[in-house]
Symmetry: D2
Subunit: 107 residues, 4 copies
């Protein structure tokens, strides 16, 4: 991971949408739908691959680019969703890992 | 956003999976599917809501908890997916915003 | 396949929604979202299975019931979606198979 | 609905896949993923539309064609999924409607 921070990216995304007058479309309902659509585009890349083939997907530059691009789209909509609802995604994940560590004790 | 960092959360998730012997299930194909399933669970919360109702989803503590929990799940699988494929999600998003700023000039 | 027909099931679904005053929720947008949520619930059953395990999913009565139930949910929302938009799903599929037979000549 | 029947379409799809040697890809796990990907492509058409706009989606010939085409894709994968697992989708739906009529008494 780079030193880029989530808060900075979230501000860039909010600014990007505001300058294009796209905020009207960014209801939580629409952003959740867009997030799931992008997640499915990631699934599409893998849908006919065997588990082994899926593990080698970054070996081909073209599919590596496609995968990376879909990751960016998923994260973009996740952060925009969190922005409009005031959710701190990293804190939410930290709390969830805490809960899961109690819920699923290691073997 | 809190000071929690993405790299630290990603290490906790990798450690969590390793201790439970879950790495065998974490092919990129399976993690992409799990990510899309969690994104759909977020959509499910909103599926019958009007746009206005969707904007007020955090007013009710129970639905706020549910939304936050699904955000954590989506982010968890996205980071695990990136971990197994060596993708830097924040750098991918920064590069995508750069491209989109050129592709969609502001009004 | 049984002798049950699609048109009859579609009428039962429309009647079911009308009697419960649920038609107000059944916009095409909401029904498409609900369809995708149910499709993801089907994916969830398979997400950690190997290809071989996935082929034996009907051997266990409990998972067979779960799979069958999700198939019913997907078909229910697909038919309701088609009902509100006046789409003939079977004719659409027949036309698509015709096109695909020209587009992908057999080996 | 036309007089086309589901069993006949299912046979055409199975024959289509067999002639192209695609059966190897058609594990239940892969077909469930493909089904959810197609359902998301349907969601994508509606993701930024208001409820009212979504109700008029068939007024424009181009979007009407796109919607109909995605319906065909969803149904195609649903029927192929049912074919490989020996599930009777129409009987599953009829049984589900029966259960729901008991579970949700009309107002």
């Amino acid at each position: 991971m780079t030193e880029l921070d989530v808060a900075g990216l979230q501000r860039r995304l909010a600014d990007f949408a505001a300058k294009r007058d796209w905020e009207q479309y960014h209801t939580p309902k629409n952003l959740a739908a867009a997030l799931s659509v992008e997640a499915s585009e990631l699934v599409e890349i893998f849908q006919w691959l065997t588990p082994d083939q899926s593990a080698r997907v970054m070996d081909d530059p073209e599919s590596a680019h496609r995968v990376t691009d879909e990751v960016a789209d998923v994260l973009a909509y996740l952060l925009q969703f969190c922005e409009v609802l005031g959710i701190d995604a990293l804190a939410a994940l930290a709390a969830k890992i805490d809960r899961n560590e109690r819920r699923f004790p290691p073997k």
